[in-house]
Subunit: 313 residues, 3 copies
C-alpha cells in the first residue's frame, strides 16, 4: 500500500477487514516492524480517537511518533498556487509538505472542510498537497470528504457483531454544520462489502449523489428503520445547500421508539456524539450499542494500514 | 494498587515513602516493566512539573506515553448525565472515558476546580467519571480537591531532609483564587505520617473542616511559626466564602523576619510560586529551601505509583 | 560540548560540518547512545522544522523526548529578578529552569525576541536563564539573536552543493517585523568557514555591526548579485530603527531577472518563506534551489550536536 487517502487504496477490502480482526488478537507481535521509522501526525483540527488510536497503533509497531497541532504549533499554510503571500499565511503547503516528507517515513493528516466553498472542499487540497509534495506515504486521518480509517473500523465492527447486515444510515439532528466525510466513507465501505444499505435523511439533506448512487434514500425515518438490524447514525450538513443547517420539522433523534421499529438493530456512531440530540441515552447505553467497540477497532484499522505501508517502504 | 485518586489508595503510606527513596537510587532498573503498556495523560489545565515528571517516570519504566491537552486538542466534555447536549460541549465524559480506557492501560487526569460551585467541585466529577467509566487504573494529576502525587513527593522530601518534623502549613498571599487541592493532600499526608502539624491562615481562610479536623489552626502567623522546623507555604482561596480572595490587612508573605522566628525551619512550596508575593527571594533561595528537591521527587513518586499499578495489571 | 547556545560553542567548525555529512550516511547507528536520557524541548514560539527535526534526531539516538509548548501548556514566566510577582506571570524562569533541569538531561529552548526592546533582546534572557539555572546542557532552537542549528545545516548544505562559494546574503521583503537570528548566525558561520560573503540590504537595514564587521554591505541588490554563485535570502526588520519595517521604494524580491545576474547561483532560504514576496515561485522551485535540502540537513545538525553533548554527560 502506497497511501491511504480513500477506500480505493485498499485492493481487497474484505481481506483487510479479516486482517484487522487477526491483528486484534495479537497486536504486539510486530513491534519491530516500525523500528527507526517516524510517523508524523499533523492535526489541523481537534481529534481524540484518531489521535490516540493512531499514535498507539504506531507505537506498538515500534515506530517513533511526532504529533503536531499545526494551527497553534506551526504556521498557517497557504494552499493556493502562485499567490503573493502577503496574508496571515506564513508558509506554503508545498514547502511544508516537502520538508515534513524528509523528516518522516509516513504522514497522517487531519484537515476538515470549510463547509463554505464546496468546490474547494472537494479538491481535498490539504491532504492531496501532502500526497503530491511530501514524497512519502500519506494516511488520511479525516479529510474534507473522506474518513477511511473510521470506515475500516466500522467494517470490522460490523463483521464481528452483525450477521447478514441490513443497514440503515440515518441522518440525525445537530446544532452545528458538520462534514460529510464519515457518511461518505461509510457508504463507500458498505458498497465495497456489498452490504444491504439504505439511507434515510430529511429532504434537502441528500449526500453527494456520486457517492449515494445506487442506494435508496428514504425521507421517512421510521419507514427506513423497518426491518433493519443495524442503524448507523450521523449528522451532516446540507450538501445541496452547502454547509447549511436546514430547518427540520420532524424529530430525527434516534430513540427507543424508533429502534423498536427495527429488527432488534445494533446501534453505531463514530463519536463524538451529542447525547439526547442525535441519540437518546437509552439507545446509546443499551446492549445493542456498538459505539465503544467501534472506537476500539480504530486501533486495529490504523495498525493494519501502517503495517501494510511499512511492508512496502 | 488499582487507582491513585487520593491518599487512601495507598495502603501502607510509610512504606511507599521508603519505596520512593529506594527507587530514586536506581530509577532505570525497571525499564521493561511498562513494555507494550500505554499511559494516557489528559490535561484539562496547564502543567509543567506534573507533565514532565510523570511522562519521564513512565518512559523510564518503558511505557508508551500519549499526552493530550484536552481543551484545545479534543472536544469540550459534558459531565452532567441526561442532558440534551445542545451547548458548546460536543462529547460526553462517559464516552470519552470509555474510549480512552480502551486505548490506554493507565490514565492520568488533571482537572482543576471551577472555584465557583463548591458542591460540584467536591464531587470531583472529571476524575471520578474517568474512574467510573474508563475501566482502567486512573492516576490523579491534581483534581478539584486532591493532589496526591505532590503530597507523596512532599513526604519523600520531608523524610529525606527533616528529622522529627514540626510542621506549620502556612497560607500565603496571592492575587488570584487558587484551589485547595495541594493543601488538602498535604494535610492528609501529614496525618498518615503522624507528623506534628499546625495550620496558620487568616480568619476566613479555614480549609474544609473534614480535612483539618484534629489539627490546630492559628490565625496569627508569627505565633504559629514559633518552634517550627518546617514551613510549608501555599495560597488557597476561601473555602467558606467559596473561591473568593478576601481582603487581608496583615502581611502574610513568608520572609526572613518570619523564618527567623522558627527553629531554623526548612521551607517548602509545590511550585509554581509567585516570588516576593508568597515568599521572599531570600527565603526561597536560601539553603533551607527544599523547593527544587520537592520538584525532583515528583519523578519518583509518579514512578512508584506507576510501578505499583503496572504490577497489578 | 557543554552547551550549544551559539556558534562559538563548536570548537572546530569545519570538522563539525564534515561530521554531519558522515552522520547523514548512517543516522541510525548510534541508537543506544541516548538510552535513558531525556531531551526536553521547550517552545515559546511556533516551530515546524526545528520541532520535528530535533525530535527525530533525538529519537534516532535512542533518547526520550518531551516537548512542551510553554505558552499554552505551562505558566507564563517572569524573567526579571527581584520583582514582586503580581502580574500575569505565575512562575519565575529560575524556578522553571531548575525544575526542568532535574527532569531532563538536555534542554532545547526556542524563544524569539520581542523586537521592541533591543537591550533586553540582546541579553537573550530566556535561553541564558536556562543555561544559568538548569545545570544541564542547553541547545538553542532559535533564540532572540542566534539560530546556530540552522547555520550548521546551512554550512552542511553549502559544503555538499557549492564549490568555492561566493555568497551574497540578501535582505528580502516581508510584511511583518522578523528577527535577526538567522542572518546573524549565517554570517557568523560564513566567517568561521572563511567563505567569501557579501551582504546586500536597503539603507536602514544594516545588521548589528559587531556581527557584520569586516563584511562588505552593498545597498544595490543587483550590483551585489554580480558574480555570486550562492544567494541566501532572508528578511529581517531594521536593527538601527529596532524592530521596524521601513518603507522601501525599490523591489527587493528575488526573481529570475536578479538570479540571471549571478553566476548561475544556488538559492537558499531557511523557511518558512512567503513565496512571491521574498522569492518568486520560479526561483524557489528551480533546480538551483537548495531550500528542501537545507531543511533536511536540520536533522543531522541536530543529531551531531546531541551526539556531542551526550558523549560528555
Amino acid at each position: 500500500m502506497k497511501n491511504f487517502i480513500n477506500i480505493n487504496d485498499i485492493k481487497d477490502y474484505n481481506k483487510s477487514v479479516e486482517d484487522c480482526i487477526s491483528l486484534k488478537k495479537s497486536p504486539y507481535e510486530l513491534n519491530s516492524l516500525g523500528k527507526n521509522k517516524t510517523l508524523g501526525l499533523l492535526f489541523f483540527n481537534p481529534s481524540l480517537r484518531t489521535r490516540i488510536s493512531t499514535e498507539k497503533a504506531a507505537k506498538i509497531l515500534g515506530m517513533n511518533v511526532i504529533s503536531m497541532n499545526f494551527n497553534n504549533e506551526g504556521w498557517n499554510l497557504e494552499c493556493e498556487d502562485g499567490v503573493i503571500m502577503n496574508s496571515n499565511k506564513a508558509e506554503h503547503i508545498k514547502d511544508a509538505a516537502r520538508v515534513v516528507g524528509q523528516y518522516c517515513d509516513i504522514i497522517g493528516i487531519r484537515s476538515f472542510p470549510s463547509l463554505i466553498n464546496k468546490t474547494d472542499d472537494e479538491k481535498d487540497i490539504v491532504i492531496n498537497s501532502f500526497k503530491k509534495y511530501a514524497n512519502i506515504p500519506v494516511i488520511n486521518l479525516e479529510s474534507s470528504i473522506y474518513h477511511p480509517l473510521q470506515a475500516l473500523a466500522d467494517a470490522v465492527t460490523i463483521k464481528e457483531k452483525v450477521k447478514k447486515p441490513k443497514i440503515v444510515l440515518s441522518w440525525a439532528p445537530h446544532i452545528k454544520p458538520l462534514p460529510h466525510a464519515v457518511a461518505n466513507s461509510f457508504i463507500n465501505m458498505a458498497k465495497k462489502m456489498n452490504y444491504d444499505i439504505k439511507i434515510t435523511n430529511p429532504i434537502g439533506y441528500n449526500l453527494n449523489e456520486n457517492i449515494t448512487d445506487g442506494i435508496e434514500i428514504i425521507n421517512n425515518q421510521k419507514e427506513a428503520f423497518e426491518g433493519a438490524n443495524l442503524v448507523y447514525a450521523k449528522n451532516w450538513s446540507s450538501y445541496d445547500n452547502y454547509g447549511k443547517v436546514l430547518d427540520i420539522k420532524d424529530s430525527w433523534i434516534i430513540d427507543d421508539d424508533k429502534m423498536n421499529i427495527t429488527n432488534n438493530a445494533k446501534f453505531m456512531h463514530c463519536l463524538p456524539v451529542r447525547r439526547n440530540l442525535v441519540v437518546s441515552d437509552s439507545v446509546i447505553d443499551s446492549d445493542n450499542s456498538l459505539v465503544v467497540e467501534q472506537a476500539n477497532n480504530r486501533v486495529y484499522s490504523a495498525q493494519l494500514i501502517l503495517k501494510n505501508i511499512l511492508n512496502e517502504i
